[in-house]
Structure formats: structure tokens, C-alpha cells
């Protein structure tokens, strides 16, 4: 049986390979973002919502991440990654990733034009604090 946490390791390796720092279960107001990837200079933020198969729920949860991230993706287990309505993802500018040991891009996310600076700053400050804690 595949669980959500099974998707995290490949995702982490994928984004760390691109030079990002990764954080899991990042609090954002009353919600949590499954995974946030941030560039070393903290200028580029990617939010990922991971679900094994329930793409509608993942998409709903991912919507609000556009307020604070440059790009937002939904990551799904490969067996179910063909199910989502790509038109809907495109409409809301959210990307889709398929996870199966590695990570494959199915649909590219658009650069978010929904950022609210106060929300983004809130996230950035949290990540900076976490980064300092991580790196000592």
C-alpha cells in the first residue's frame, strides 16, 4: 500500500538536486503545506501538495498556496497521475508531478500572480528561521 509519505523522499531528492532547501509540513496560517522548497537566496518558493490519488482534494488544498509561493504543484503517485483534469490545473496555474521512485513533470505550473506580500513574507520568515535552526 502506498502512503503520502512515500512520495516525500523522491520529491525531496528531486528538489534538493536542483539546489533547493526542502521543508515538510510547513504551517501557513491555519493550514499546512506538505512540502516547501526554497532557493538558497530565499527568492524562489515552490509549494507542493502531495496526494496518492485524490487529486481534487490536492488541487483544492494547493489553491491557497498560490498566495505565498512562486509556483505550486500537486504531486501524485504514478498509478493515479493520469486521472486529474489538466484543464482545471491549467486554469488555476497549478502544476502536476508524477512520483514513482523519481519525479516526472506532467504539467508545468505558471508563475503565480496571486502572491499576497504579507502572506509570502510570513512564510519566508518561517523558512529563514527554520533554515537557521537547520544549519546551526
Amino acid at each position: 500500500m502506498v502512503y503520502e509519505k512515500s512520495l516525500m523522499k523522491p520529491l525531496e531528492e528531486h528538489y534538493m538536486g536542483q539546489g533547493f532547501e526542502t521543508y515538510f509540513e510547513v504551517p501557513m496560517y491555519s493550514k499546512k503545506i506538505d512540502m516547501v522548497c526554497i532557493s538558497p537566496d530565499f527568492s524562489n518558493i515552490i509549494a507542493v501538495e502531495a496526494k496518492v490519488s485524490r487529486w481534487q482534494k490536492a488541487l483544492k488544498q494547493a489553491m491557497a498556496h498560490r498566495l505565498c509561493a512562486n509556483k505550486v504543484y500537486v504531486a501524485m503517485w504514478h498509478e493515479f497521475a493520469h486521472r486529474p483534469n489538466i484543464d482545471l490545473f491549467d486554469k488555476f496555474g497549478i502544476g502536476l508531478l508524477e512520483v514513482n521512485g523519481g519525479v516526472k513533470l506532467i504539467h508545468e505550473a505558471k508563475e503565480s500572480n496571486k502572491n499576497h506580500q504579507s502572506v509570502k513574507q510570513n512564510l519566508r520568515e518561517y523558512l529563514i528561521k527554520e533554515s537557521r535552526g537547520k544549519n546551526g
Partner: protein
């Protein structure tokens, strides 16, 4: 009797809002353990805010798992202070375990009923830390305000044969015979399963007669998510109870209960932007999150969801037009109205609550409209959000419940 009375359940964080916006509600409800714990503060509040009030004795908690009212393995201080006020025997019994039906013998019931009523009647007469100033303020000698009504001890009834049914009814009858001056309103506290049992409800309606009024609480009744048949059962209970032509209040309720003013509900109580439903066993230490009230949908959304939704659809007209929100909108430079709006709302945390009580008051006034107009209003908002706005449902922005509520009103006509 169409206009619905709005009562807010007292909470210390909301004290200033309730003091400064008295024109926006009709009364205050206070849980007894909160009353006892914040005794001085609440006594002074009630002296300043001369609104009708009632005290909920919350006796049901003593018949549930006591860990619900514990902190760090001990009874919470608020309940420790309350218990002695309910007579000497209650504390002795609770040292052994929670109350059980076998504990509820006549002598104990007599003692409990007398003390529970006495606590409510004399609450405002309790010595207050500020009372030495009453003379200076010219309030000395003024008769303490009595509660709007008194509530007998009551307990949760899960099904027809639950022994707590008879115990609650016996308490109600005892209190009615004990109390000569003030009105006594028993609390009918039942499960949804009980509400669905027509025989049980018929018996309840024939047992609960002759009181001065009633309070009702269906445990964990979610007005938005409830099945339409259950909403109709709730409506029918209120309608049948109202045949006695006595006031009826719902203890934890929201907009749907406001609609029930059309069927005889006098008023309802909730927290300020929270507490529109409550389960019999609520875990301690829960603090309501900050949420924005969406007036068209009669629901609340977390800030992030609200920002996302309003930003996505770029419909500035959807933002509320109450005095609070209108002022915020006027102060925006309009380059990104939604972002500005929520930043300003967030910068003054109480604004979202004032926005809520302002809307609630407008809704209460709106209940003076006839049933057809209200149904049209619900249909219009449902149609807009469901059909026109999006093919994709946003969490918190669903509108199916408006359609259900309209159907419940329609089927009564």
C-alpha cells in the same frame, strides 16, 4: 414573532466588542463555570452592559467523562470553583467518579436543584472587587438584575430509553415547583438519533408542557452539513414546541436557527464568530481560529481560503458592504483591493468579529421579510455561487446548504 433574538455567549476575549457594540445584539449567555471563574469581571460587565442574560448551569458535564473538564489530571479551576456552589453532595460524588443515574436520588436532586437555581438568581449579588466603587458611581442600593430566565440542572439524552431523560425532566419539574418568582426554562439536550425517533420526540413534547419557556440543544448539530431530513426534523420540533406559545431559545446555533424564527424560535446563542454547534464531549483547550464571515453563504472561512477565493474571482462586489468592510475598502489604494482588505482586517484582529456581529444583526432584521422573500434570497445566493461563479468548488465557499435551507422553508408552506 419573526425577528430572531441574538444572544452571544460571553468570552473574555470578546468582552470589549460586546461592551462597545451593544446595538448589534439582544442578550448574553454565560456558562456557569465561566461565570464563577471570572466572577468579578462578568459581574462588572453585566452591570455596564444592561442586556438580558441567562446562565447555563452546564450540569451535563458532571455526567460525562471527567477528563473533558480536567487539565493536567485535575479538574479545571473553573469547575473546582463552581462545584461547591451546587451543594455539598456534588463534590463528594465527583471525587469517586462522574455522576451516574443511580446517584440521582431524591435528596440529591432536591439539593442540586435548589443550589443550581440559587447560583443563577444570586450571581449578580455576589461580592465584587469593584463594588466599593458602586457608591461613587451612584449604583449602590440598586437591585441586582435577575437573569432573563433560570435553567434547571440538565443532562444529555442519547436515546429514548436513556435514564437521563427522566432525570432531566424530574429536575425541570422540581425547579418549576421550587421557583415562585422567575421563569424556568428547561434545556432539552438530545442527540440527533433521539430527534430522528418520532416516538421519542412525541413523548418529549407531551412531557415538556407547562414550563415558562424552553431551551434546546441538539448535540453536534451542524446546520450547514446536516441532511435535509434532519433539518426538517429540527424545524418540526421547534414548530411543535411553539404550539405552547412560550419562548424557545437554541443554545448553540447559527443562521439556519435564525430562519427558525419563522416557526416559533425566539432566539439563539452562539459565540462571537464561533460556537454555532457543540458536541456533548468537547475536548478542553480548544481556541476558535480566526475566520472571515461570508455573508452571502452564512459561513466562515479561514483567512487564507478567503484571500484565495476573493482574489481568484476578482469580484470586489462580493466583498461585504457592512460598515466595517466598507471603511476598510475605502482606505485601500485599490491596486490590489483583496490583498489590502485582508491585510487591514488582519492588522486589527477584532475587526473580523465586529464584521460578523454587524452582519448577524442585519440578518436578524431581514427576518422581518416574509418567507417567500427569504427563500428567494437563499436561492439567489446559491445559484450565483453554484452556477455562475465556478465549476470547481472551493472549500468553505460551497452553497449547497443554502439550497437545502430554502427547501426546508419551502416544504413548510
Amino acid at each position: 414573532m419573526d425577528k430572531s433574538k441574538i444572544f452571544y455567549r460571553f468570552g473574555i476575549p470578546d468582552k470589549e466588542i460586546l461592551k462597545n457594540h451593544q446595538e448589534l445584539y439582544d442578550g448574553i449567555s454565560i456558562s456557569a463555570h465561566v461565570a464563577k471563574y471570572y466572577n468579578n469581571s462578568i459581574v462588572e460587565f453585566l452591570k455596564e452592559v444592561e442586556k438580558p442574560y441567562f446562565i447555563d448551569p452546564v450540569t451535563y458535564v458532571f455526567a460525562r467523562d471527567l477528563t473533558n473538564i480536567e487539565k493536567n489530571g485535575e479538574l479545571k479551576r473553573s469547575y473546582k470553583k463552581l462545584i461547591p456552589k451546587y451543594g455539598p453532595s456534588l463534590g463528594d460524588l465527583l471525587e469517586q467518579s462522574k455522576l451516574s443515574p443511580s446517584d440521582m436520588v431524591d435528596d440529591f436532586l432536591d439539593e442540586l436543584c435548589k443550589h443550581v437555581l440559587n447560583f443563577q438568581k444570586t450571581f449578580l449579588q455576589e461580592p465584587s472587587a469593584m463594588s466599593k466603587y458602586d457608591k461613587i458611581l451612584g449604583k449602590e442600593g440598586k437591585k441586582a438584575r435577575e437573569p432573563l430566565f433560570l435553567i434547571p440542572p440538565y443532562f444529555y439524552v442519547s436515546e429514548k430509553d436513556d435514564p437521563w431523560y427522566k432525570i432531566s425532566l424530574d429536575c425541570a419539574k422540581k425547579c418549576k415547583s421550587l421557583e415562585g418568582e422567575q421563569d424556568v426554562y428547561p434545556v432539552i439536550f438530545i442527540s440527533l438519533e433521539f430527534l430522528m425517533d418520532q416516538d421519542a420526540v412525541s413523548k418529549l413534547l407531551s412531557d415538556y408542557v407547562g414550563f415558562d419557556g424552553y431551551a434546546i440543544w441538539i448535540a453536534d448539530f451542524n446546520e450547514k452539513l446536516a441532511h435535509i431530513d434532519d433539518l426538517k426534523l429540527y424545524r418540526n420540533l421547534i414548530s411543535k414546541l411553539s404550539e405552547q406559545e412560550k419562548p424557545i431559545y437554541s443554545l448553540y446555533a447559527g443562521f439556519f436557527s435564525m430562519l427558525m424564527s419563522k416557526f416559533g424560535l425566539t432566539g439563539f446563542s452562539s459565540g462571537v464568530c464561533y460556537g454555532e454547534k457543540k458536541n456533548v464531549d468537547t475536548l478542553p483547550g480548544w481556541a476558535p481560529p480566526i475566520r472571515y464571515y461570508i455573508h452571502q453563504l452564512k459561513t466562515k472561512a479561514p483567512e487564507l481560503s478567503a484571500r484565495d477565493f476573493y482574489d481568484e474571482f476578482e469580484e470586489e462586489d462580493l466583498l461585504c458592504d457592512c460598515n466595517v468592510c466598507k471603511k476598510i475598502k475605502s482606505e485601500s489604494d485599490k491596486s490590489n483591493l483583496v490583498e489590502d482588505f485582508f491585510d487591514m482586517l488582519k492588522s486589527q484582529p477584532k475587526l473580523n468579529k465586529i464584521h460578523f456581529i454587524t452582519n448577524r444583526k442585519d440578518e436578524s432584521n431581514y427576518m422581518a421579510q416574509d418567507l417567500n422573500e427569504i427563500i428567494k434570497y437563499l436561492d439567489k445566493n446559491h445559484d450565483y455561487f453554484f452556477n455562475e461563479l465556478s465549476s470547481f468548488e472551493y472549500d468553505y465557499f460551497e452553497s449547497k446548504h443554502l439550497d437545502k435551507w430554502a427547501q426546508v422553508l419551502r416544504t413548510s408552506m
